[in-house]
Amino acid sequence: MTRTDNPIARILIYIALALFTVYNVLPFAWTIMNSVKLPKDANARIPRFVFTPTGDNYSELWLNMTPEAFAPYGLALILIFFVLVVIALSANRIPAPNSVVYIGCIFAGVIVAVALPDIVNTAEFYDYLINSVIVTVGTLCVSLSIGALAGYGLARFRHVVSVYILVIALAFRSLPSLALVLPFYYLGQLSGLYDTHILLIFCLVAVNQPFTIWMLRSFFMEIPREIEEAAMIDGAGRLKSFVSVIVPIMWPGIITTGLFTLLLAYNDFLLARILTQINWTLPVGIAQFTGGEDPGHVTLAAAGSVSVTLPILVVIIFFQKYLIRGLASGAVKG
């Protein structure tokens, strides 16, 4: 649409957008400040933007011991973990097959994650993090693999059955998840699967599946049929041509869908709250900070909030363009 040339109008537009940005990020910025405040600063009647920062809240949240007892080994392990992430992100530049690099990094990362609690005496919050990682990664793997197969099948099989499946999936997408989770709760209690990762993962996969197949299908529809037909003429079967030809060019679509799945699994509160008792995930762990009169409570809750949010923000900022493309794809088609 026509852009205004009026300089005053342009300035006003920038001011409005700047205010909108402040409105979007100020609460989180305020929480970051609270997370490094002493309780007396955080509980002041007049909001304090200037104060002496402290790391106490984070060590109280993550560790059972005082910071002095924080063994150098622990720091070393955390450092190793960051190095692993950096290696994994620059896998393309390392003269070894990517898969070897990834598997090595994941393997080493798991060892570090398992060894850490023994060395630095981590608090419960660390267990919530591990639970969250297990549930999120499990949901991602199961959901994307079966979702990609189904999305591909639905994109290629032009038959009324495909439409039925898609429409029913859409109806499922709108269901209040409580309608599904209460029977799960009941059956979980009876079968002994209550409070296990596996039950939560499968529940999240199910809730997420309708969205996954719709989104992946729309990405597969954009890939011309000729590509896999060429591979099939060369003698590859459907599955082989899918894995070796289609999936490699579909990475952007899979990453986009994966991001939405990741947000759903990592951010989920209701399902985890109902299906777990002690194996809490991070959102359930943080929700315990919703009450209480203890003055240290605000700062601890803030440290917890920042700890829960930072990983997801880092991932989102890193893959921002995929997320925005995913949101916009609804737009382009509409």
Binding site: N24, A44, R45, S162, L166, V167, A179, P183, I274, I286
Partner: protein, 286 residues
């Protein structure tokens, strides 16, 4: 692709949806016909439709439905209008667009429980919004049965406006250039372009955002859980939250199942036209 390969590809996903969505849903209907508490989990007692009539005669159920509908009536239009406003502003500029969009993603991707906790802190005593309201308007905000429901609605607008903004902004980039050019040649003002070209073009997106928003608002739970601190005095229960309470706080599992079946029926009333529309669209493509 033949039928056999199709079943091979789609089978696992359909199986998961059948086993983990259809069956629980049917189980919900049946469990709703039993009297179940934590004490008789393994020996539910058949009571027919009593739970269903119980729910329909429960004034708290209707209260929570009423609040949910008020929530939808305010939050959904507000998200679309604000989203359109900021999408139009973004459309006017080119510099720093990425920064504005990235910042807007923060409330959108943040874990809802955490987002609500943070949001509440801003309005709680000693929080910046609380302080500025007091300084500028001499208004002292207390958490009570008027403000907490409003904060719940405001919070949902805060988190969902960026979604509407990004979708509508992407839609604005696909406006038909010929129509815009024709409108310009005819001397149409910006407002006339908006009204006659942009809004009709974005119509299907408004429906898309509206439906997603209605579905998500209908099942809002996390923000109620955090903002009310599970305290009934704020009188801000949504239907999902009340359902959760009946299940876990009151331990009436049978009644809770009956209630969730009824809420599913409720959302289907809204949804059926949309499903029919989708069915037509998809069969026409072929």
């Amino acid at each position: 692709m033949d039928r056999q390969t199709f079943s091979f590809f789609v089978g696992p996903s359909v199986f998961i949806m059948l086993a983990l969505m259809t069956l629980p849903l049917l189980a919900s209907i049946v469990l709703g016909m039993h009297f179940i508490t934590f004490r008789n989990l393994d020996a539910p007692q058949w009571i027919g439709f009593q739970n269903y009539t119980d729910v329909l005669g429960d004034p708290e159920f209707w209260d929570s439905l009423e609040f949910t509908l008020i929530f939808i009536a305010i939050a959904v239009p507000a998200r679309i209008v604000l989203g359109l406003l900021f999408a139009l502003l973004l459309d006017q500029i080119t510099r720093y667009r990425g920064v504005f969009i990235a910042a807007a993603l923060v409330p959108f991707v943040m874990t809802p429980v955490v987002g609500t906790l943070i949001f509440r802190d801003m309005f709680d005593r000693g929080g910046p919004y609380w302080y500025w309201m007091q300084q500028l308007f001499e208004y002292r905000l207390f958490m009570n049965s008027t403000t907490v429901p409003l904060l719940i609605i405001f919070h949902s607008i805060w988190t969902a406006t960026p979604f509407a903004m990004i979708v509508l902004f992407a839609g604005l980039q696909t406006l038909p250039q010929e129509s815009l050019e024709a409108a310009r040649v005819d001397g149409a003002t910006w407002l006339q372009q908006l009204w006659h070209v942009a809004i009709p073009h974005l119509r299907s997106l408004f429906i898309f955002i509206g439906l997603i928003s209605i579905m998500d608002s209908y099942r809002v739970f996390d923000s109620v859980f955090v903002l009310t601190q599970q305290n009934p005095i704020y009188d801000a229960e949504t239907i999902m939250y009340y359902n959760f309470q009946v299940a876990l706080s009151f331990g009436r599992l049978g009644k809770a199942n009956a209630m969730s079946v009824l809420t599913v029926l409720g959302i289907f009333v809204v949804l059926i036209p949309f499903l029919v529309l989708t069915y037509r669209e998809q069969t026409e493509e072929d």
